[in-house]
């Protein structure tokens, strides 16, 4: 069971697709101008990822090796289209806000990467857990980025929904966070921050391991 748990948490932190593996970056910067969009994109991508990993893992023995890439593409594209159609019909505001990034879920490296690296070699249960973990890892990073950009750049919270609250008055907003340079900046800083936290943790763990070894040796 703890193995399953590890599979699940893998995507959250240790192998976080955006911050550690550096894949799936396009959409993370393109639509994170407010949290509603960030959440929407995260959930949409998660749906496609889960369904794709599910089905590809299910069918992994049925897919001949030489055509596996086109088949993966077909399956991923099918689910992406489903998300597109459903959003267009039932949440048109999100559909408009995500724009071209919605169909681009199909070329999101995360999905392709995980499907190729994991789902095509592992059982259904594990694949789904991996998908949920990776999806959540992706979504939480999106939420953080979009929170920073929305709050400091737009001065609002929950813009795009019916609950929009304007917090920071117009004069104090950092407008640049709303546009391209700001997105890159926030992401770079976020990566630096999480990177250094990780390194600090690793250093501590290593130091502890070293200490334990020394204590063992001293015994």
């Amino acid at each position: 069971m703890s193995n399953k748990f590890k599979t699940f948490t893998n995507g959250l932190l240790k192998e976080n697709p955006l911050l550690i593996l550096n894949i799936g970056l396009c959409s993370s910067l393109g639509i994170t101008t407010n949290m509603f969009n960030g959440l929407g994109m995260g959930l949409g991508m998660m749906f496609v990822l889960i369904m794709s990993e599910l089905f590809i893992s299910l069918l992994r023995k049925q897919i001949p090796d030489s055509i596996r890439l086109p088949v993966f593409i077909i399956i991923i594209a099918a689910f992406t289209t489903i998300v597109q159609l459903v959003l267009q019909a039932y949440v048109p505001s999100l559909y408009d806000a995500l724009g071209v990034f919605l169909p681009l879920i199909v070329v999101n490296c995360i999905i392709m990467g995980r499907v190729e690296a994991y789902a095509s070699h592992n059982g259904v249960g594990d694949s789904v857990l991996d998908a949920i973990g990776m999806g959540l890892g992706y979504t939480w990073v999106l939420l953080v980025i979009s929170f920073i950009r929305e709050f400091f750049g737009g001065g609002t919270l929950l813009a795009g929904t019916a609950y929009k609250i304007e917090i920071i008055p117009e004069a104090y907003r950092i407008g640049i966070l709303n546009s391209a340079p700001g997105g890159f900046l926030v992401f770079g800083c976020l990566m630096a921050a999480t990177g250094s936290i990780r390194r600090a943790k690793e250093a501590k763990a290593q130091a502890r391991a070293k200490e334990a070894k020394e204590m063992e040796a001293a015994k």
């Binding site: 090796d65 030489s66 086109p70 459903v86």
Partner: protein, 394 residues
């Protein structure tokens, strides 16, 4: 399965692979078709509701709209009627919703509703590209005009028959006269088209008056301009542009070029006036051409615009009598400086000054031509005149 798959796949194996791929593709497409079946009608309904919502904002009572295309088009070349819908309540036509685009300071697209009794039911901007803080205030929900409503909100309840005159039948945005007037012009045309259609086909109230008068200014040909300039002067009966005179069209005078010249003779055959046309820079890249008629006493009889393609509602207003008549009866030898010797067009000082410069050059050259045929000679020192010179000479 064997390892050697790379280059030497048999045709049979390829076909098998192709088939498997095709099966996956077909299943996926079928799945998508099923989903599409459910979502497509919802999507379409969304889009209709969205379009309707825009129209309901200006015609709140209507519950359905029908697009028609057989309305009389706009009689003003700068204003287009983009869309025309009949607004219906329970299937009965109660009015019309019109979308029109036309020039303001830049340009605007408005949508307005008119009911059968000739009353405006509402107006909104779909697009307004004027200056923020000035013309753009017309579309600002927080900006109120004199009557206490938003600019676009004041039109609901107004009668089409009263017309749309800025400052009189509706409030303008202070500091944005051009925008306000431009909107009024678009509304006049749009409501005219709407009411005539309703009157003709839906039992709406009859429309008074003719189609809105298109801008009173127009461009003239050289000959027509001379005739028009003289149309007020009874003293010169029987005038004719009888003699075209060759002018030096190659040498630049203050960066301008002479185009045509002519002598105007009366019925006795005496030369009474000289006319010269000049081309020069204006605000737009293509510049303009004007013609000035000068009499024996070195007085400008009048000026007309032959060619000009500046911004509508701004520089292009120079073709109207209210602008060009300012130069009539002025001495050739005076300066033409904006603000002192003539009133510049509002929002178009560059065009105004450029045209004034062209008037100076043309009139001076015409007076020279006249001097060769009995007119007064140039007083000393007048050859060295100063222009507004918006564009630096080389």
């Amino acid at each position: 399965m064997s390892e050697s798959q790379n280059d030497t796949i048999t045709v049979g194996a390829m076909i098998k692979l192709g088939l498997i791929l095709a099966i996956y593709a077909v299943i996926s497409c079928a799945l998508l078709a099923v989903v599409n079946n459910f979502t497509a009608p919802v999507i379409e309904a969304n889009q209709i509701a969205k379009a309707n919502a825009g129209m309901k904002a200006v015609f709140a009572d209507a519950d359905s709209f029908e697009q028609v295309t057989d309305f009389t088009p706009s009689t003003d070349s700068t204003i287009t009627i983009d869309k025309f819908y009949l607004a219906k309540v329970g299937g009965e036509v109660k009015g019309a919703v019109v979308q029109a685009t036309g020039p303001t300071y830049d340009h605007a697209t408005i949508v307005l509703g008119v009911d059968l009794s000739g009353t405006v039911t509402g107006m909104q901007f779909l697009a307004l590209s004027d200056s923020p803080g000035f013309g753009l205030k017309a579309n600002d929900a927080t900006f109120k005009v004199k009557s206490g409503t938003t600019f676009y909100g004041q039109f609901a309840g107004k009668k089409v028959a009263d017309g749309f005159t800025a400052g009189q039948t509706y409030d303008a945005v202070s500091g944005a006269t051009i925008t306000s007037k431009g909107v009024g012009r678009i509304m006049t045309m749009a409501t005219f088209v709407a009411s005539s259609y309703l009157a003709e086909k839906c039992g709406g109230v009859a429309v008074s008056g003719e189609a809105p008068v298109v801008e009173e200014g127009k461009l003239f040909s050289f000959e027509d301009a001379v005739v028009d300039i003289n149309s007020n002067y009874k003293a010169y009966d029987g005038l004719s542009v009888t003699e075209k005179v060759a002018v030096d069209t190659k040498t630049q005078i203050h960066s301008m070029l002479l185009q045509q010249g002519a002598l105007v003779k009366n019925s006795k055959g005496e030369v009474v006036e000289a006319a010269i046309s000049v081309s020069g820079q204006t605000y737009s890249d293509v510049g303009g051409t004007i013609v000035v008629v000068v009499n024996k006493e070195r007085k400008i009889v009048g000026m007309r615009v032959i060619a000009l393609a500046d911004s509508p509602n701004r520089g292009q207003e120079a073709i109207k009598p209210s602008f060009y008549n300012q130069f009539a009866n002025k001495s050739v030898d005076q300066d033409f400086r904006g603000g002192t010797d003539y009133d510049a067009l509002s929002g178009a000082s560059i065009t105004s000054d450029c045209i004034a410069d062209m008037v100076k050059v043309a009139s001076y050259s015409a007076a020279e031509l006249m001097a060769q045929h009995g007119g007064l000679k140039a007083p000393a020192g007048t050859a060295d005149y100063t222009l507004n010179n918006h564009y630096h000479e080389e």
